[in-house]
Symmetry: C2
Subunit: 457 residues, 2 copies
């Protein structure tokens, strides 16, 4: 019996070893094909240079839908389709202005832009005293007495000591999202918020905010980090400094838009779907190159590489370019709704939405046994400098799938040091993305998709 077990064990181990050998060879092929012939970079040029910024509801967003559809067909998907989703249509307006006004009424321009979803100021703008706060505790301590009738200036810088910049973002972003309504509680009339970035520059970095229904809706803007530092200095020398803010943003009627979906049908378990996605919409302050043109073109590249190498996946590989991640998540929610309605079985969903920089790991948002299965493949990824499985974040667009169907989520983890230099700002342009870094991200996800298509999860 013992011998039999040993025999069985050793046969099993040989088969495991040989599977790992052939997997290792296939992953090498995937990397080589993508690094040499990859189309992601060319597709990203189309998306971020030819089309440019593409906020939900805009003409550019619709062009991006058509473009993604063409690219997925070009990639060789077995089928490509559009999935309807209603999206909000908010427009920034062209007459934004921010000025620091000193005691002698001298005005100095500083770069501001509306936070996504903000209401406009009156047409003539708002001029009012400005109070600087660093966090909500300070706001609360000041109370109505010191806040009422004023503009609140949230000056909460990124914590530079955090190694992963997403942690600093996570901690600072609440001032952007909740700041306006928190300030409204104490009678503020507008808010300006230090840009969410590690960079010291002149770009205001926008991003979504949300109003509490029960409170007045205050106009709210991001101010560049240089502008924030200047304002802070001016306030220290003269606390009665005023600020002029003008925003003419506007919320229009919702618009019918689309998620773009392309798939390669699985040969053995076509009903088991492996989703790889990114989001097609972007803030229109910049060109949406890192956020998230990169994720979209990487997902499309995965379709291409399977076809180029003649890989016939046992399970279905589905690339999704989601609409409206930035200001509503309507695309992600609609996708999960339709998946539930059609009783589709997503065995896993992977998202790349942390920029097109060098990948070094996978975030695993799933149960321990599934994590263990994925980690057992770690040796296959080490030669490609993919080593970290500690993050537990998947991605925003695939979040609704988890909430409705407990789908395990994977997020591509990439070097985060430069990401917030460009995030949601005019500087998020094609030239900031490096071709090899972008391709390495696509190759890491394609290799993961390959293993998942062979062995399930």
């Amino acid at each position: 019996m013992k011998k039999l077990i040993l025999l069985f064990l050793s046969a099993y181990m040989v088969s495991v070893a040989s599977a790992q050998n052939s997997d290792s060879a296939m992953i090498r092929k995937i990397y080589s094909e993508i690094l040499v012939n990859g189309k992601a970079y060319t597709w990203l040029r189309g998306l971020s240079v030819d089309i440019g910024g593409r906020l939900s509801g805009s003409q550019e967003a619709e062009k991006a839908v058509q473009y993604a559809e063409r690219c997925m067909k070009q990639a060789g998907a077995d089928s490509v389709w559009l999935q309807e989703t209603w999206v909000p249509h908010w427009v920034r307006g062209m007459k934004e202005s921010g000025k620091i006004i000193d005691a002698k009424k001298n005005a100095q321009d500083v770069p501001v832009t509306a936070l996504g979803g903000s209401v406009a100021t009156p047409e003539q703008g708002i001029t009012a005293p400005v109070v600087e706060v660093h966090d909500f505790d300070e706001l609360k301590r000041m109370g109505r007495e010191k806040i009422e009738g004023k503009i609140v200036f949230y000056n909460h810088p990124f914590d530079e000591t955090m190694i992963n910049t997403f942690e600093a973002y996570g901690e600072a972003a609440e001032y952007r999202w909740s700041g306006p309504s928190e300030a409204a509680k104490y009678g503020a009339i507008a808010t300006i918020c230090r840009s969410m970035t590690n960079a010291t520059d002149d770009f205001p970095h926008t991003g979504a905010m949300g109003y509490a229904d029960s409170l007045p809706k205050l106009p709210c803007a991001a101010i560049s980090t240089n502008g924030a530092d200047l304002l802070s200095r001016v306030l220290r020398s003269n606390p009665s400094t005023q600020f002029f803010l003008k925003l003419n943003c506007e919320k229009l009627d919702s618009v019918l838009s689309h998620n773009v979906i392309g798939e390669i049908r699985g040969t053995e378990h076509p009903e088991e779907i492996i989703l790889i996605g990114g989001h097609l919409d972007s803030w229109e302050t910049g060109k949406g190159a890192h956020d998230d043109g990169a994720g979209v073109v990487q997902a499309m590249e995965i379709l291409r590489v399977f076809k180029a190498l003649g890989i016939r996946p046992k399970r279905t590989i589905r690339a999704v370019a989601f609409m409206n991640e930035e200001n509503g998540l309507k695309g992600g929610k609609k996708y999960a709704e339709v998946a539930a309605l059609n009783k589709e079985k997503h065995i896993v969903a992977i998202e790349s939405d942390a920029g097109g920089s060098t990948p070094y790991g996978f975030g695993l948002d799933m149960k321990a046994d599934k994590k263990a299965k994925i980690k057992s493949w770690a040796p296959l990824f080490l030669p490609y400098l993919i080593w970290n499985y500690d993050e537990e974040h998947g991605g925003s667009d695939i979040g609704p799938l988890k909430r409705s169907q407990e789908t395990p989520l994977i997020g591509l983890v990439v070097d985060s040091q430069r990401y917030f230099d460009y995030h949601h700002a005019a500087s998020d342009t094609f030239d900031k993305v490096n071709k090899r870094e972008l391709n390495l991200g696509a190759a890491a996800m394609a290799s993961m998709a390959y293993l998942l298509s062979m062995y399930g999860l």
Copy 2:
């Protein structure tokens, strides 16, 4: 006895654990200080913007010596001194030109620049048929019959399938270094060499070459990758295409220059030196920001952080800005010579000369027991995403120390994907370096230097 051993062991383990705890706290302090108050980025601006490219023997190189001396004093080093070293003085000249000349004598300019050390062409330039070869085997097969009297065009692209771009560089660089003399064996009259880069651009990337003493010295230039692709296409349609090459570079008399050295004296074992270095000289085609301004300012930052945090190292910490890595290594050789003469004991030398990108490991060029000691500290570095100890390369400037004294070498390993986009080209400028990435490299080396100063090697 057994109990005694257990008691001893457990006391030992407690002391190891508490050492690791306090080391972990100190490393956290080092990272925070550098990420928040680091001076490396400001110093790099001085070196790469205010001074600029600084080839050995140039006025800029001498300005860089004075600047590094000032910075090391500013960093708070206990002592700072210059170490004399003679360096070669080669100048590029301002009249470089390369043209593809078709059958109808139409000339098309392509970007070329002399390889470092090249002789000039005659003043009127050289016009001759050009033969493309991809490697030395092809050159050999062609032989004198097809090569004599012609310009050899080495078109050996980077192997994009390699994950670490330094491997691709290592494989391609021999055509730059040895190409001219190899071609001279078969009677060629000049060589042009595809730029050593992953980028597809219009910058010729220069770099050192070496002539064999016994062979004619051919003028030799780098051609941009776009230029190389164009020339290759033109040659395919018309193999009798000619090339015009004009170089007016010149070798002048050697110049007395300096390594710049700053140190913090060890409290317990001052005679045991931990060297951290980079090289001060750079090719003057660009501004020497990544190569190797980054390494120099990181080394200086290590002096600064020890002083800023009041760390009194048990062993001596010595920062060295080496002169003449790019075309002679005279600084590195002189340093090792003087160290031997003075019977100085370098317990380890660390170099950063792979650019200022995000660090992820340390290359260990040393014996197995010393490697094991360093790897035992790996858990302390993991929170900072430093995980890889597989490379076995230290650095060029510290190489002579190993050869003369068997000094163990450590090389900072950083993300390599973008490095060769800029390497030795006009695009190696300050704006290509990210402040946080640069600081993370300094912090990783400072933490390693701290552990080495506490525990030796």
